[in-house]
Symmetry: C2
C-alpha cells in the first residue's frame, strides 16, 4: 500500500474526527453503569481475541526485526498472553474507578433565586499521539471512555497491526453495546501528516495529548491549532541542602536515578550544597558509580560537564552533579534548567523546606522523597494518561478528572437580568 | 516616531516577557496582605494622578476624533473623573476578594507516610490582548496581581496614551512597595507584530487571553505557541419548548436581546417549537419589534434569513428566529451553529429541561432564565477577566481562580519508591 497523499490523510483524519465528535455527544449522557459495562465487555472481548491480537502483533514484531530495530524497542512492542492480561486488567481497574462526569464542583442559589451548579462534563473528543507500546491504545481508550470522551488514537507505525487489531475489537464491543463505534478510532500512522491533521482539526477535536519524546511534543505544540497538553519532559533535580541527612540523600538520589532510568520522573541533576559537599560528594558518587551511573560534573573523577549537561534529560544511567552555593543558587539553577516536572530538596531544616517548596515552580515539589513518586498510580489516581508539565488545565499526573471540563447549569423560573 | 521593525518589536516584547517572568517569581510568594496593600496603594495613586491620566486620555480622544472615529468607539475610549473612580473602585473590590493562591485543592497521606497536598499557585506570566477601553488595563493588572501573576498588557493603539499613563502609575506603585515594577508592562501597540511576539514567547509567557472580536481571537489561536484561552464569542440561543410559558419566553428573549445587545451573552437566535409556534410567534415578534429589533427568519413579516443568519453573532438589535420540530432539532441546530457560550430552554416540562441541560454542550445551559446571566459578577466571582468558550482549563466566566494553576507538594522523611 502506498502512503496516502497529504490531502488524503487530512480527509481521513477529519472524517474520523467529525464522526468522533458526533459519537461524543452520545457518550456524554451515558450513565456510569453503562460505561462500566462497556469497559468490562471490552476486557472480555480482548481476552477472547487474544490469538488474533497476538498474530497481528507478531506481524509488527517481524517487521521490526527485519528492519533491524533495537532489542529494547522490540521488547516494548511485543505482546504476550501475560501482557494482554495486563491490558484487560487495566480496563477492569478503570471500570472500578469513580466516574468524574456529573460531579458537582461548586454551586449556590443566587439572591434572585437562580439555582447555579457547576458540573463536570467530558471534554468531548480527545486525541492521543504516542509511541511503540500497544497497551497505550487500550489504556487510552479506557480512560477516555470512562470520562465520557471519544478518542482518536495515533500510535506509531511500528505497532500498526497490533493497534488495528485492538481497535477492531473495541469498536465491535461498542456496537454490540449500542454505543457508536466512532467513539474510538485509529488514525493512519504512515507519516506525520496524520498528526498534523489531528492537531489542526479545530472545532472537531477538543484536546490533543502527545506522549513521546521532546521532538514530538514540541512539533505538536508548534503546529497545533487545537489545545494541547504537554507531557512528560522531566529534567528533574535533587538539591542536597547544607543540612541534609547524607544517608537519606544518597538513598533518594540512587532510587530516583536507577529505579527506572528511562522514565520522566528520573532525577537528571543533583545539586550539592557547597557547605556539605566535602562530606556528601564521596558517598553519593560512589553509591551511584557502584550502580554503573556515569557522573557528569566539574569535580575530580567525573566526566567533564558542559552547559549541555545541565539541560540534558539523559533517561539513562547518567547524571549531572553540580556544587551550588546555597538555596538561592540551587533555585536559580532549577529555574534556568528545570522543565517544571519534579524538584526535590533533601534537608532537615524546616525553614529550607518551606522556602524551597514555596519558591520552586514545578508540577511536584518534594521534601525528603524520591522524584520517582510523581506518578498517577502512586498519587492514588488509579489510572494515568500522562504527566502534564504545563500549567494550564492540568499539572502533574493526569487521571480521569483531567479529561473533563465543566459546564454551568442555571435553573430558574423566569428570571431576567435588570438593566 | 516611526513604527519599529518586526525584529525590534520581537526584541522589545521578549525583553518585557523575560523581565515579567523574573518578576513573577517574587509575586508567587507575596502574602495576601502584601498584595492587597499594593492594590489599595494603586487605587490611591490612580486617584491622585487623575489629572495626568485625563490629559493623556484627551490626547487619545483628540487623535480618534481627528481620525473620524465613530462616536460609540470614542465614548468607550473616553475617561472621566467618574470613570476613573470606577477603575479605582474596581481595584479596591479586587483587594477585598479572597486570594486563591495557597488554597489546598486536595490532599492525603499515602500508605508510606508521604504527605501529599495539591495547592493553588499563580500561572506565572499572563498576557492580555484587548481593545479600546482603558479601564481593562487596570482591571487586568488587578486581577492578575491579586492571583499572583505578572501581566503583559497589549491594549489598542487608540488608547496608547491613556494606557501608558495608567501603567506608569502602576509600575511606580509596585516599586514603592518593594515589588518588581516588571510585574506589569504595556506592550507596543503600533502593529499586530507585538501580538504575534507575545503569543509566540514560549517558555516566558504561561497563557494569553485575547478579548476582542472573532478576528483577533482566531488569529491569536492560529499563530500562538503559548497556551491561549478563547473568550467571548457568543452565538447564544433561546429554545422556546412546546411546553413553554409564553409570557416567560417573551420576557426572557426580550431581556436577553435588548438589555445590552453588544455583549457576548446576548441571545442571537430564538428557536420556537413548531408545537407552540402558532401561539408564541405573534407575542414574541411583536414584543421584539416594539423595541426596534429586526427579525430575520422564514416566517411572514420577517427579513428573509439565509444560512449566514444562523451563524451570525449580530451584537445589535437583530435576531434570527427559526421554527424547529421538537427538542432534537433544537439541539441539532445548537450543536451546528452554537459557539458553546450560553444556551437556554424555556419550558414547564421537567423532562425537557433535564434532557436539554444534559445534552447541550456549552459553558452555561439555562432553564427559564435569561442568557444575560452568564457573567462573572452575576455568578458572584467579584471580578471577571472574560468568558471562556473553550473547554480546557476554564469554561464560562473567569475570575481569580481561573488565573491559577496548582502544584503538588510532597513531604516525606526519606521515602524511596520500591522497584
Amino acid at each position: 500500500m502506498s502512503a496516502p497523499t497529504d490531502t488524503d490523510v487530512v480527509a481521513v483524519v477529519t472524517g474520523l474526527a467529525a464522526a468522533a465528535q458526533k459519537a461524543s455527544r452520545g457518550l456524554a449522557t451515558l450513565t456510569t453503569a453503562q460505561k462500566d459495562a462497556v469497559l468490562l465487555a471490552a476486557a472480555a472481548a480482548i481476552d477472547a481475541a487474544a490469538d488474533v491480537i497476538l498474530a497481528a502483533n507478531a506481524e509488527d514484531v517481524d517487521r521490526a526485526e527485519a528492519a533491524g530495530t533495537e532489542a529494547a524497542l522490540i521488547d516494548r512492542l511485543r505482546l504476550t498472553p501475560e501482557r494482554i492480561g495486563g491490558i484487560t486488567g487495566g480496563l477492569r481497574q478503570v471500570a472500578a474507578l469513580p466516574d468524574p462526569v456529573g460531579q458537582v464542583v461548586s454551586g449556590k442559589t443566587l439572591p434572585n433565586g437562580l439555582d447555579l451548579r457547576q458540573i463536570r462534563v467530558p471534554l468531548g473528543v480527545v486525541g492521543f499521539v504516542y509511541e511503540a507500546r500497544p497497551n497505550v491504545t487500550v489504556d487510552g481508550f479506557g480512560i477516555a471512555f470512562k470520562s465520557g470522551n471519544a478518542v482518536l488514537l495515533r500510535g506509531s507505525s511500528s505497532a500498526a497491526s497490533s493497534n488495528a487489531a485492538l481497535v477492531d475489537v473495541l469498536r465491535g464491543v461498542l456496537s454490540d453495546n449500542a454505543v457508536s463505534a466512532d467513539a474510538v478510532a485509529l488514525l493512519p500512522s504512515e507519516s506525520r501528516d496524520s498528526v498534523t491533521a489531528l492537531i489542526q482539526a479545530r472545532g472537531l477535536v477538543d484536546v490533543v495529548i502527545p506522549r513521546g519524546g521532546a521532538g514530538l511534543i514540541s512539533a505538536v505544540v508548534r503546529d497545533a491549532t487545537v489545545p494541547t497538553i504537554e507531557t512528560g519532559t522531566g529534567n528533574c533535580h535533587v538539591y542536597v541542602h547544607a543540612d541534609a541527612d547524607i544517608d537519606i540523600a544518597t538513598r533518594i538520589v540512587l532510587n530516583a536515578k536507577t529505579r527506572r532510568p528511562s522514565v520522566c520522573n528520573t532525577v537528571e541533576s543533583v545539586l550539592v550544597d557547597k557547605a556539605i559537599a566535602a562530606d556528601a560528594l564521596a558517598p553519593l558518587t560512589s553509591a551511584l558509580q557502584a550502580q554503573g551511573v556515569v557522573i557528569h560534573g566539574d569535580e575530580p573523577g567525573m566526566e567533564p560537564a558542559t552547559e549541555e549537561d545541565w539541560h540534558r534529560e539523559y533517561l539513562s544511567l547518567d547524571i549531572a552533579v553540580k556544587v551550588v552555593d546555597g538555596l538561592d543558587e540551587a533555585i536559580d539553577h532549577i529555574d534556568t534548567y528545570g522543565t517544571g516536572h519534579t524538584e526535590a530538596i533533601i534537608t532537615r531544616s524546616l525553614q529550607a523546606a518551606q522556602e524551597f517548596t514555596a519558591r520552586v515552580d514545578a508540577a511536584a515539589v518534594m521534601v525528603n522523597a524520591s522524584t520517582a513518586f510523581t506518578d498517577g498510580e502512586q498519587f492514588g489516581f488509579g489510572a494515568e494518561i500522562g504527566i502534564s508539565t504545563q500549567k494550564l488545565h492540568a499539572r502533574g499526573p493526569m487521571g480521569l478528572t483531567e479529561l473533563t471540563s465543566t459546564k454551568w447549569l442555571v435553573w430558574g423560573d423566569g428570571q431576567v437580568r435588570p438593566a
